[in-house]
Subunit: 325 residues, 2 copies
Amino acid sequence: MSAAELPRDWNPPTLDDVRAAAQRIEGRVHKTPVMSCADINSMTGSELIFKCENLQRIGAFKARGAMNAVWSLDEEEAARGVATHSSGNHGAALALAARSRDMASWVVVPDNAAAVKRESVRREGAAVVDCAPGMNNREAALARVVEETGAIVVHPYDDDRVIAGQGTAALELLNSCQDLSMILAPVGGGGLISGTAIAAKGLNPSIKVIACEPAAADDARRSFEQGQRLSMDAPDTIADGLRASLGRRNFRIICDLVDDVVTVSETGIMAATRLVWERMRIVIEPSAAVPVAALLEEQVPGSSGVRIGVILTGGNVDLDALRWS
Amino acid sequence: MSAAELPRDWNPPTLDDVRAAAQRIEGRVHKTPVMSCADINSMTGSELIFKCENLQRIGAFKARGAMNAVWSLDEEEAARGVATHSSGNHGAALALAARSRDMASWVVVPDNAAAVKRESVRREGAAVVDCAPGMNNREAALARVVEETGAIVVHPYDDDRVIAGQGTAALELLNSCQDLSMILAPVGGGGLISGTAIAAKGLNPSIKVIACEPAAADDARRSFEQGQRLSMDAPDTIADGLRASLGRRNFRIICDLVDDVVTVSETGIMAATRLVWERMRIVIEPSAAVPVAALLEEQVPGSSGVRIGVILTGGNVDLDALRWS
């Protein structure tokens, strides 16, 4: 998981890569349902089509990218197993993907990770490797795992296979619903939004792709505006899936294909989370509510009266820790 | 809403009535999705097919019965509007149904009803009539509404049209999934379980139909065992949708068609509620978790290794009031 700059000859994944990913993961992940909600439509003044990745395997879109990465390995690589560090959904996703190919997996989990997420990684069958919190400790622990096991590292977002895999959610959404004017997804490290932009712009160059971010973790917005990749150390947001800073590949794709990056308040995120639980009766994590919050807070120009796809990214919540007020 | 005995010549609704209800309400309520969950299957040792009525309009199966009742009225009756008393989902369901036919509706709501349910009745367009808590006060307030308005009363469960309407959930489930050995639903007043039994036994006499009830509100179990309809005053259970006592029609149908009534603990209900939220990422109310709790607590003989339909009845929860521990 290196921070080195990208090779000069790197080319981003294309719509064809997303389509190949969709074929590769077919039957191994869910084709998640789309839902709508009349109440939320009338509150936002838009017609929203929700792609329910909270109902995906392991409860998050991350299953797509990890599955594509694991099934892209050749036999020699697969025999070595896969490894990553993760305090969230990517660890469980990689464990699930490895298990689907009868491979070993190692996931480095920092001591301060939520108990529910650690348990989920273990339940999916990974060897959990504990480490002290902090990116340096995580990288060091992962390097030791790789040295000892020879496992292939699968980065949670700065990886072409992962980006193409995450793009399959938008591909499915747009194939099932062809008249969307706009598509919204949250941005953290940028795996989902970059795959989404590749799929959406590839299918329809005129569709608007909007990245949505907590104002308290606005590295993507600032990076997008200033044209250089900025990072942020431990941003304080309830949207725990969006605390990572943009990856190198992800930043490049966002600059090329994303139309705008908008930000929302923490109270807006919690209000939108609650609204979806109460009116749609589905569990989403706060990170997933960020695009809904952006619409409710009127942060998305041109959203009024049009049909908009919204990717609800995940539903893994620590119910004991959640506080509504 | 009279407690008088049933007329001697009363005949319960039949499978044909459920089928007619399904036609009548088609396009006016959702065909709700079915879901499964590998984790819960392995915990219960059964293959469970969940019928997600929490994703129904107004967030509960009650939309079905109310819609069938309202669209069964002739023009003269419809012009008078409809009325009921309700502290829960039936009020919102009746308001929704009345609105779908451009009819007036009045719902008597006791002062101690949850704010979220009162608000939902109002949002669906009913005139909310406040009253003091207690069945006598509710009946008296409803009688005044009827006297003043001439509205037709639609009882929440002791009504043939409502029973046939509620049966459409099982009809859909069994039509989409034909190899179920057993079907489980909660029992409160008995509208859902009686309609479910009519549909299920009508389609397949060998299927087992099991009613599930909080042990703290076990009037249905005791009534079923003793062969006489017993009532219970204000039972203390978290499953607020199941506090009503069996209706007259419902009791007769249950005695004829239901195979068993099983009961579960309050801690089992909360554990099952939480399990569904966490593993299926959908919001269900505690009443809906009662059949899941019955399976987890091994209260359902013959459930091991077989395919079982479970009706998840509703998802209207007061998030501020919910406590997990």
